[in-house]
């Protein structure tokens, strides 16, 4: 199952990921990404990969577990 990884230091709170996939990503009051879950169902791979790729500072990765 694909796994989401977030680099909390790199995150700048642009929140494109939250707009693209709010079932996986959120941000906290300081504007830092929060992973609502780290495992992604196979059928959500494309959508979550798009969300990860919309990060302007490449703080998100989708790995094959």
């Amino acid at each position: 199952m694909p796994t989401v990884k977030a680099d909390h230091e790199a995150c700048q709170g642009y929140a494109n990921c939250v707009i693209a996939a709010d079932d996986v990503f959120d941000i906290d009051d300081d504007g830092v990404v929060v992973l609502l879950r780290d495992e992604v169902a196979e059928e959500d791979r494309g959508r979550v990969a798009d969300a990860a790729n919309s990060c302007p500072v490449s703080a998100l990765r989708l790995d094959d577990a």
Binding site: Y14, A15, N16, I19, D29, G31, G46, N53, S54, P56
Partner: protein
């Protein structure tokens, strides 16, 4: 014969289109062409970290968008350092500046935009900022210290002023508009940016145009239309951008400050010609008008849409993003969503002179939210972008404000 897509322009829009084609399972050939001989790079850091942060072991603050290894792994053929010279839609060919001709089944036009040239020529020490080479040259001059005059108080100008101030330089910001960002956020809200510059030690000259920039012994002199003379070691001209469409003038495509496209980002009447990023003037379904947007997120969303449409012409996807742009200015992370300039009225949450974070919401004549700006408050932008992009997009300013007010009260100590 294999299907071939030629992508012209390897900035964010072109690179992301090529990558999205592969991610979506496109089996044809992908060729990515760019005039710049650098590996594809991202532009937002050029006016931010690239100027203000030291290089790390020689590495630039803007990492490559696509390395040779990544291109090879995705079977993307890179043709760098060669400009596209012209496009023949009927023949399905792109002529390159080195005389080669590339045949295509689909073509993606992603040549972006160029910095509007300096009306005062290019005396030594005067910079525009668009490319990695521009950023390197500007960084080298800023590192020498001294006095900087920034012409243009939009996003690029404000970011350069902010970076130069952080480097300890003496900074002046000039704009012919009486209030910075006034065209985007209106004069009253724009004044918060004037105070931001001043609070961080920049001198501001708003409401005066530039008459002349001239090389003098020991530096440059900037003369304003009101007669003021500013001495400078470095001058940065950030007065907007214009689409790179000159190479398309012989193509027969409809050009009107960008390539005019349908709602699927295809050049009108040309289903095999797709356009992404700053170059696209496309029909935005939700706005019911043609728009051109110069933002990073817009290019990324269009890339995904165009890649889908190339591979699925039977199930075309319209491109209907919500406008979104960010800017780092001094200690403010500014985020702007939607179209504030279309607002009939606005309201502010928080006080920009006192609070670390605040937001502004704009409503159209029907009271519906049409734009939002937040400073150091990304959650407010998320709520606004959701409301702006929701089906029907009918959330009123008051509804969004109530949600944010509750969130603000809930966030401890802020």
């Amino acid at each position: 014969m294999s299907h071939r897509t030629v992508v012209v322009g390897a900035s964010i829009g072109g690179v992301r289109t090529a990558q999205a084609l592969r991610r979506g399972g496109y089996a044809g050939e992908v060729v990515l062409v760019d005039a710049d001989s650098e590996l594809p790079y991202d532009r937002p850091p050029l006016s931010k970290a690239m100027l203000s942060k030291p290089m790390l072991n020689g590495a630039e603050a803007t990492p490559a968008l696509l390395t040779h290894a990544q291109a090879a792994a995705s079977d993307i053929r890179l043709e760098l350092g060669v400009a596209a010279h012209s496009l023949d839609v009927a023949a399905g060919t792109v002529d390159l500046a080195d005389g080669r001709r590339l045949a295509f089944d689909d073509v993606v036009l992603a040549t972006g935009s160029a910095a509007r040239p300096s009306p005062w020529g290019r005396p030594e020490g005067l910079h525009v900022l668009r490319s990695l080479a521009d950023a390197r040259a500007l960084r080298a001059d800023l590192r020498r210290g001294g006095r900087v005059v920034v012409v243009g108080a939009g996003f690029i100008g404000a970011e350069v002023a902010s970076a130069a101030t952080a480097l300890g330089l003496s900074v002046s910001v000039v704009d012919p508009l009486p209030v910075p960002m006034g065209r985007v956020v209106g004069d009253e809200v724009g004044r918060v940016f004037e105070r931001l510059h001043q609070r961080h030690g920049a001198s501001t000259y708003f409401g005066s145009g530039v008459e002349d920039v001239r090389r003098v012994p020991g530096g440059l002199t900037v003369t304003l239309t009101d007669g003021t003379r500013l001495d400078a070691d470095t001058v940065v001209v950030g007065i907007g951008a214009t689409p790179n469409q000159g190479w398309l003038e012989s193509s027969g495509l409809l050009l009107d400050d960008g390539v005019v496209c349908d709602e699927f980002c295809r050049a009108v009447g040309q289903p095999r010609v797709h356009v992404v990023g700053d170059l696209a003037r496309w029909h935005h379904r939700r706005h019911a008008e043609w728009v051109r947007v110069e933002h990073w997120t817009n290019a990324v969303e269009q890339a995904s849409c165009v890649a889908h449409n190339i591979d699925h012409p039977e199930a075309l996807r319209a491109c209907v993003p919500v406008e979104y742009v960010w800017s780092d200015q001094y200690d403010w992370k500014v985020q702007l969503a939607g179209r504030p300039w279309r607002g009939a009225r606005w309201t502010m949450l928080g006080d920009p002179d006192v609070d670390q974070r605040f937001a502004v919401l704009w409503a159209d004549e029907a009271g519906v939210l049409c734009g939002a700006m937040s400073v150091n408050w990304p959650k407010a932008t998320v709520a606004s972008r959701r409301a702006l992009g929701a089906a029907g997009a009918t959330a009123t300013l008051e509804e969004v404000r109530e949600g944010l007010t509750a969130a603000r009260a809930g966030a401890t100590g802020r």
